[in-house]
Amino acid sequence: MSLAKAESRGFRFTRVRSIAWREFKHTVFTKGFIIGALAFPFLMFGAIGLMPLLLSDKPVPVTGTLVVADADGTIAAAMKAAFEEYRHPRAPKEPAATPTRGPLEEFDPDAPDPSLFSTEVDVEVRRVTLDSDHDSTRADVRDGVLLGFIEIPAALLERSPSEDLDISVLVPTSSPAKTTALLSRTAREATVVARVERHGEDLAAARALVHLPGTSTARMSETGVAAPENTQMRFLIPGGFMFLMWIAAFTSANQLLTTTIEEKSSKVIEVLLSAVSPLELLVGKIVGQSLVSMVMLSTYGAAGLSGLAFLAMLDLVPLSTILLFLVWFALGYLMVAAVMTAVGSAVSDLREAQSLVQPAMIVLMVPLILWLPISENPTGWLATAMSFVPACGPFVMVLRTTGAVEPIPAWQIPVTLLVNTAATIGLVWMAARIFRVGVLMQGKPPTPRELLRWARTR
């Protein structure tokens, strides 16, 4: 509808502007918003920043007697040597020409860092034979007398041991996970050391042979600048964008819900409708709250971009991504706002609103639940299908387009834009129809069927 045509039909943009400004002012310039929506998240981010300090790993004391049952005592001896090394680590004199880390570390990125235990490792290794009676040893483990009991099958020392063979590690119920991990890891490494020595091979040479080289990846930008690859950030950024969009959209939409209910319950709605049309009121409220969401987007977005700039990773968020994000945000916000305003107009209090909002919330929660699978596989069928589902489509598309982990097919962006824009127009139209009838209704809340009937009412 053109401006002139809208004005001629009684739709006054000056009224919409007044409503929007009141809505914005009475939401943003309040203690609740400043503390809840602006200050609190920054405090939260600050706390997250401090988390690594607060939760930093402290050396875990590992002391006690460990009983090791092996075929010939070589593994027990290797474990004893390893624990001694943990206790008195050798300072590296110069960078080793060949890798000195154990082969398991190469293949097991989750292996605990031995340095964590270096200060308080005092493990006495007592070797027993495999065929001796282990019942009393097990009882001592159960009672916490021993640190643990490790049984290493003799076949593990063969040149090509069966892959089905495992080392048995028995620890007390109260054993800390890190202690258990250290015992397991030391037993595995010692087995490899003993095996290599038993077959007359050179351990350092073997390690050098199986050493995995590192990689240095860079992405060549359109301007020809090669930017270092940061896979982790490429997963995190879409999540950040999506959560930012979700929080901004829902904070504002929730305000729409509560202010509409408040206007109804305080009876001010009839006064307003004597001055403006329901459509003007609806548009004014949605525009006003969209400004509120823009304040949130700008604040959080600027903080996020500043963080990326500080980490020299600003190239991960090009301007085109931000612009596209704003388009998706507009669609997502309008969809959520339409639903919330329609519900707010139809009910008399927040309790009644819950039952009507719940189904919509389930749909809108989908992007949050599917954040990781969609980010990991943005071209998969799940991500593609969800992009076309009204209400959650814009959120999913933000996940798919802001990370560029895997470029999505080019046709999908215009097509999903088209589909989601149509869905947005439909939802806003429906909300306007429901709002027009609902704001003057009192009494019991309508059923979803009644809401549809209101939407069809001329």
């Binding site: 009141r22 305080s266 009876k267 004597s274 403006v276």
Partner: protein, 325 residues
């Protein structure tokens, strides 16, 4: 009464023809015909649940009639919002908003320019005897004060038509008097005023014309004076100097007196006249026979007419169930 047009301009500020509205099984308004001429002050009277608020909401285009034609200022109320002032029955203000800010906001919505609006609001607050509340929050005001604030929001933009739904309900006599004076003043300025009330005394004081509806139907539509004249009881009210009982006995013997009954206050008597009795002559006869502290023609009140008509038309209305508020 029909709507007239002079040079294409309707002379009716409000025109309803055969308007009806039904909520579920209840007819809230039935085939209502009503004309409010420009510059008139018309009262819409009726008991609770008679359909007054429904009729007014239809006039304001807040709800659509199921049948009939409706015109406000010659068109649709939706297109005339800036020329209409409305005080709804159910009052509402933004509780946390400041009074001045609320009224300025309403003025802006009614199309008033920002320039000079604050001054206009302050003038109205003074006029309505609410000085010094400009910066108070609405929730800090009493209910009556909030009602006066709402009244200002209805008239601030100097509308051609002012529609007031129960404007005096809940107000103490002093504040009711302030609003009555303001309404009179607005009417004197040539504005059309259409108000609903079930407080007959105020309607009698204010309205040029009254329309009485009951059970959604119009049962009376006439000038206030003619209603009072039409329902005049043809009786003389006296307050005797001596014993009331003796005065009653004496009065009953007078020729031309049909009946004698106690009046109000308690020491007064109402003497009903026979149809052919000339009131002035009878007053002279009474004065010769009974010593009177006070003697006057008994007057009917709108309240009496209201009770009589509503009772004749089946008593109080049913309250519409559900539907729009």
């Amino acid at each position: 009464m029909s709507s007239h047009a002079i040079n294409g301009r309707s002379t009716s500020a409000v025109s309803l023809r055969g308007v009806g509205k039904r909520f579920g099984a209840v007819d809230a308004v039935r085939r209502l015909d009503l004309e409010v001429g420009r510059g008139q002050l018309v009262g819409l009277l009726g008991p609770n649940g008679a359909g007054k608020s429904t009729a007014i909401r239809m006039v304001m285009s807040l709800i659509r009639p199921d049948q009939g034609e409706l015109q406000v200022l010659g068109g649709d109320a939706l297109d005339m919002k800036d020329r209409i002032g409305y005080l709804p029955e159910e009052r509402g203000v933004y509780r946390r908003m400041r009074v001045g800010e609320f009224l300025i906001y309403m003025g802006r919505l009614k199309g008033l320019p920002q320039l000079g609006l604050a001054k206009r609001v302050e003038q109205w607050l003074e006029r309505i005897e609410l000085p010094g509340v400009f910066r108070s929050r609405c929730q800090e005001l009493s209910k009556g004060m909030q009602q006066k604030v709402q009244f200002i929001s209805a008239v601030l933009h100097e509308p051609d038509l002012i529609v007031l739904d129960e404007p005096f309900s809940g107000l103490d006599p002093v504040n009711a008097r302030v609003l009555i004076d303001a309404v009179r003043e607005l009417h004197a300025q040539g504005r059309t005023i259409f108000l609903s009330t079930h407080q007959m005394a105020q309607a009698e004081q204010l309205c040029q014309r009254v329309v009485l509806i009951n059970r959604g139907e119009k049962i009376l539509d006439a000038a206030t004076e003619s209603v009072l004249a039409q329902y005049s009881p043809r009786a003389i009210e006296i307050v005797p100097l001596g014993s009331v009982d003796e005065a009653r006995l004496t009065a009953a013997t007078l020729a031309g007196i049909e009946a004698v009954r106690p009046g109000s206050p308690a020491r007064s008597l109402v003497l009903s006249l026979q149809d052919d009795t000339e009131p002035q002559a009878m007053m002279a006869t009474i004065l010769q026979s009974i010593g009177c502290r006070k003697i006057e023609m008994a007057q009917v009140t709108l309240d009496d007419v209201f009770v009589r008509l509503v009772t004749e038309h089946g008593g109080h209305s049913r309250i519409p169930l559900g539907g729009a508020a």
